[in-house]
């Protein structure tokens, strides 16, 4: 085979397949982690019967969903109804094409020269992820509308309102990071934190808080899970879905959690960097591969997600809007000014 063919077709496809497989496996096990963590917070044990210590539970759940009947309501808008799960799943997975989870590596000498393990590093990666993840809301709205069910419709509408209000403060929080990193490329952001000898969560603690709250709201998780509020809307936008279509909505939610956590790790906690990468006597931490550091940091964020779910009751809709517009946006603007002045003073 010719060299360009390998470089531009074979290698990316291998990377994509590996990343997809890993992400989907991790997402499946996030459902297990969620059930376990919630159980532990309620002084229960959680699922522990399927396989050793319950570790085969997600696989059993998946097999069950495959075997379920695939219902389409008689008065549903069939084409849109079928398309909606894909429209929410694809953008969620697409975001992983630019997330750098490790630096260029030669896989312990297996490859002739070092190669980045992520699919691509584009210079507008952060913008790309934000744009792509905003498309996901179409899946929710269209899924809710095409079900021809008032609960689903309400869920979709709430989701739209929520996404629109929370993307503004999220954008402002991210701009604070961009001021410090001076790049939109996620790899450059991590490298900037290495060069600055400082993870950005220290100067950007407020931005981190705002970003994470907005991230929780964007992924429709507790305490901002109004689109699927069980007590009022049955299950919200996915009330009418069953089988694998329902599973797609579920997996997309967890994939989005993973995307938000990965971005938080990259922007505020130095991505794949070990703690204090420039301190000589801590260099023994380099024994642990960068991808493990990345995974551990992401896992901490995921745990906080589930901690929130185990703790907080749901906001009322007007409270949700109040938090978004009257609290987060002024705070994120003030943060932007503070960080901007700080960057001016430090870098001149």
């Amino acid at each position: 085979m010719q060299a360009p063919l390998i470089q531009f077709i074979v290698i990316p496809i291998v990377k994509i397949v590996v990343i997809l497989a890993v992400v989907l496996l991790v997402v499946a096990y996030l459902t297990f982690a969620e059930r376990k963590i919630l159980a532990y917070m309620q002084v229960r044990l959680g699922p522990n019967r399927v396989g050793p210590k319950g570790w085969l539970q997600p696989i059993a759940d998946g097999l069950k969903l495959f075997a379920k009947e695939d219902l389409i309501p008689a008065k549903a808008e069939k084409a849109v109804f079928m398309l909606a799960p894909a429209m929410i799943m694809v953008p969620a997975l697409l975001a992983f094409s630019v997330i750098p989870f490790a630096p260029a590596t030669d896989l312990f000498g297996l490859l002739p020269k070092a190669m980045p393990p992520y699919v691509t590093d584009i210079n507008i990666a952060l913008l790309f992820v934000l744009g792509i993840s905003s498309i996901g809301v179409f899946g929710i709205i269209l899924g809710g509308w095409s079900s021809n069910n008032k609960f689903s419709m309400m869920g979709g509408l709430r989701s739209a309102a929520q996404m629109v209000s929370y993307e503004v403060p999220m954008g402002f929080a991210i701009i604070a990071v961009l001021l410090m990193a001076r790049s939109l490329s996620l790899v450059k952001i991590v490298e900037a934190q290495q060069a600055a000898h400082l993870w950005f969560f220290i100067p950007g603690i407020l931005a981190l808080g705002i970003y994470f709250i907005c991230g929780v709201a964007e992924t429709n998780r507790n305490p901002f899970d109004l689109p699927e509020a069980e007590s009022e809307l049955v299950a919200g936008f996915h009330t009418e879905y069953s089988g694998m279509k329902f599973a797609f909505f579920f997996l997309a939610e967890y994939t989005n959690m993973l995307v938000v956590s990965s971005l938080a790790t990259i922007m505020f906690f130095g991505g794949w960097l070990q703690p204090f990468p420039n301190v000589a006597w801590l260099s023994f931490l380099g024994v642990i591969p960068p991808v493990i550091w990345f995974a551990v940091k992401v896992a901490c964020f995921i745990f906080v997600y589930m901690w929130f779910r185990g703790t907080f009751p749901r906001y009322r809709f007007d409270q949700l809007m109040q938090v978004g517009w009257k609290w987060l946006i002024p705070l994120s603007l003030a943060n932007l000014v503070i960080v901007g002045v700080g960057v001016l003073l430090v870098k001149g």
């Binding site: 963590i37 532990y40 917070m41 309620q42 002084v43 229960r44 044990l45 901690w307 929130f308 185990g310 703790t311 907080f312 705070l331």
Partner: protein
């Protein structure tokens, strides 16, 4: 407005208090009892499945009368035997059935029983009476009440035929609490 009040409005500290509570529970020892492998020991006075002793029973029907929902069915006949030239009447229990599927385990039959020790009692600690068939399997005849055929007894509990005695005897001096 005081400065601290302003900051507590800005930073919702009560949310962190909530997180601390759930975080504490996350680390706590779990309460779950893994049932088929682990069991909780019922107390001495726990009212479980019935036991019956036909040798002690004097066929007085007091248990059947005490039963609020009439699920104890007794059928007997009189036998006469000669003792010292006198004809003496003796009652023999033919059937002693308890329809356990309708029982509410109030224990009034055990309280009503006049014999010492009791002839019918519920203090057996046995509670695994679930079954896939309710008409035959949960209708206990005299023989099944004594042999406990098909009953999953609480570990360490034997059937009346193998020598089980009433655990806590209400109204007698052998009861656990009253002995002291």
């Amino acid at each position: 407005m005081a400065v601290s009040q302003f900051f507590s409005k800005l930073i919702p500290t009560d949310l962190f208090a909530g997180l601390r509570v759930t975080g504490g529970y996350f680390l706590r020892k779990k309460e779950t009892v893994q049932f088929p492998e682990q069991r909780r020991e019922p107390t001495e006075r726990f009212r479980g499945l019935f036991s019956y002793d036909v040798d002690r029973c004097i066929d007085c029907h007091l248990c059947a009368r005490a039963c609020p929902i009439n699920i104890i069915f007794i059928r007997d006949h009189a036998e006469y035997e000669e003792i010292d030239g006198k004809k003496k009447k003796k009652l023999v229990v033919d059937r002693y059935d308890i329809d356990v599927k309708r029982c509410m385990f109030c224990g009034l039959c055990e309280e009503a029983c006049p014999t010492h020790p009791k002839s019918v009692w519920l203090t057996t600690k046995t509670y695994e009476g679930a079954n896939y068939e309710r008409n035959e399997e949960l209708y206990f005849t005299k023989e099944r009440l004594m042999s406990w055929d098909g009953i999953k007894a609480f570990p360490g509990v034997v059937s009346p035929a193998q020598g089980q005695e009433p655990g806590n005897l209400a109204g007698t001096k052998t009861g656990g609490g009253e002995a002291a």
